[in-house]
């Protein structure tokens, strides 16, 4: 069991996805072998369930067997009243049981890793594994500066992605923006992305699509009018499904297209074309990339001009 403690408060524009990409970057795609990851700390406690699920989902990308967050009020509020969840007394009994299996305050772990959440910036990947991430304004590492067993993979990844050490990922042009996957297309993800998209337009050179994480999310998003925000900006509003998370249906990259993607994997060929390039990032970062036609720090977008009616 490894405890991953994310301290402090995440800054504006920094999300759960940036936390987990940082975890995998620090510990490696094989760093979790033999472990289950328990996530906690102020930043995780402050997160909604969608964010916690994004983190736990990608534990696998860090090599861990599983990932979880201890149940708390956020968990109970999320569950209470949902379909198939027992009500009243039965719910209280379940809560007691959940509390009883939750980690004790003095629990001992095989390993503890602490990450300062207040120090994070949006993270994007520069390579072809989820562990090859970098802060959007940070230089892409030189393969020679990486651990010995990661250097060959890094070299072939940089060749595939056509990126150079020392450059930043900011400015990397994109052809496709994919806002989808069960990792990162839940309602709060779509809300955060819609906030970026509202009043802006998808770049002329970009094909952009939203694929809600489930039929239920799709319906809830439509009830809030999020679909209109996206379609007015030029996004395709699609039905729920795996879509470009793994390129099993017709939603695929063509040739060597470059894709800003909120999904969880960037392996060669993952989005259907073996020449295709996938850059993983958070939903608001995908929205910003769709608008600008290149990878940008979502926090640097010019404010939308208010137009007089």
């Amino acid at each position: 069991m490894r405890r991953i403690e994310v301290t402090g408060e995440l800054g504006d524009g920094v999300t759960a996805k940036d936390v987990i990409l940082t975890v995998i970057r620090k510990l490696g795609t094989d760093g979790g072998v033999g472990y289950v990851y328990e996530y906690g700390g102020d930043a995780v406690e402050a997160m909604d369930m969608a964010g916690r699920m994004s983190i736990c989902n990608m534990s696998i990308e860090g090599g861990a067997r599983a990932g979880y967050v201890n149940p708390d009020e956020t968990t109970y509020e999320y569950l209470e009243g949902r379909e198939k969840v027992p009500e009243g007394e039965a719910f209280e009994e379940l809560k007691e049981y959940w509390e009883s299996v939750s980690s004790d305050a003095d629990a001992e772990y095989d390993d503890v890793v602490t990450i300062d959440g207040s120090d994070l910036e949006p993270v994007v990947t520069w390579g072809t594994t989820p562990g090859q991430g970098v802060g959007v304004s940070e230089p892409i590492p030189a393969p020679a500066d990486l651990p010995a067993d990661k250097q060959d993979t890094a070299r072939s990844a940089q060749e595939h992605m056509e990126v150079e050490p020392g450059d930043t990922m900011a400015g990397y042009p994109i052809d496709v923006a994919f806002l989808g996957s069960c990792t990162n297309a839940r309602l709060p993800d779509l809300r955060a992305a819609a906030e970026v998209v509202e009043g802006r337009e998808v770049h002329d050179d970009v094909r952009a699509m939203v694929v809600p994480g489930s039929q239920r999310v799709k319906a809830a998003a439509e009830a809030e009018g999020l679909d209109e925000v996206f379609t007015e900006a030029g996004f395709d509003w699609r039905s729920a499904g795996c879509s470009m998370c793994l390129g099993m249906n017709e939603d695929q990259l063509v040739g060597d297209e470059r894709c800003a993607s909120s999904s969880n994997r960037n392996f060669v060929g993952r989005q259907g074309s073996k020449e295709g390039r996938t850059v993983l990032m958070s939903p608001p970062m995908v929205a910003a990339a769709a608008v600008e036609g290149e990878v940008v720090d979502v926090r640097d977008l010019e404010p939308v001009q208010e137009v007089e009616a």
Binding site: T29, D30, G32, V33, G34, I60, E61, G63, A64, R65, L94, Y97, T129, D149, K150, D152, T153, L246, G247, M248, R265, F267, V268, G269, R270, G272, K274
Partner: protein, 211 residues
């Protein structure tokens, strides 16, 4: 050369896998992910039969389906059953199709520096040992296999050794995996079916299962 899996007495509901012997095939490189082992577009099947031909497909064939340089394409490695790989093999998607494709290509055992855990678990569920050894030993094994594609490699799960030519290397098999293979209890479906009473008793004791 046809591979042999050396079984023993049937202690469990599945065959015992104590030793796997057969010729080898190397696939070099760290962090080989399951999308490389079998690309997603080949997953839309109702049976795993026939997946072997798609193993490492995008590395074996170009866009016009013309063969590329890859050990799985080489005549000398056809019929091989022991796969020799490097570090973090099988990372990424937990797709069962990855070990299924390898198994159906002919692989019965994998020797590597390290494995992604879910991939190793999926291999175990098919009775395929994932045996680890040092980087130096694995690279020497890969070199040997390149030079002697017809030579038998003996993967001894029980003794935690890999033998080839005059060489014996110390290998390591996760304890639970070794027990499951040696005792013939790696097939969890068969194991549960053989112990239905105890499955029902356990289910009844859990607070989150309905009657």
């Amino acid at each position: 050369m046809s591979p042999t899996t050396d079984g023993g007495s049937d202690d469990g509901p599945a065959d015992t896998v104590r030793r796997v012997t057969g010729t080898g095939v190397p696939v070099r490189g760290n962090d080989v992910d399951t999308d490389e082992i079998i690309p997603a577009r080949f997953l839309k099947v109702v049976t795993f039969d026939g997946l072997g031909q798609f193993a490492f497909f995008d590395e074996r064939f170009d866009d016009d389906d013309e063969p590329l340089d890859h050990s799985f394409n080489e005549n000398r490695f056809q019929g091989a059953s022991v796969l020799a790989v490097n570090a973090n093999f099988g990372c990424g998607s937990s797709r069962e199709h990855a070990p299924q494709a390898l198994m159906r290509w002919g692989i019965d055992a994998v020797v590597g520096e390290s494995f992604a855990e879910i991939f190793a678990g999926n291999c175990l569920a098919l009775g395929i040992p994932t045996v680890t050894a040092s980087q130096e030993d694995v690279e020497a094994l890969q070199d040997f296999v390149e030079e002697h594609p017809d030579a038998d490699i003996e993967v001894d799960v029980e003794a935690e050794e890999v033998r080839y030519g005059d060489t014996t290397i110390d290998a390591s098999v996760d304890d639970a995996q070794r027990r499951a293979l040696v005792d013939g209890v790696w097939d969890t479906t068969a194991l549960m079916a053989a112990n239905a009473d105890s499955v029902e008793a356990t289910a009844a004791s859990l607070p989150y299962t309905d009657d």
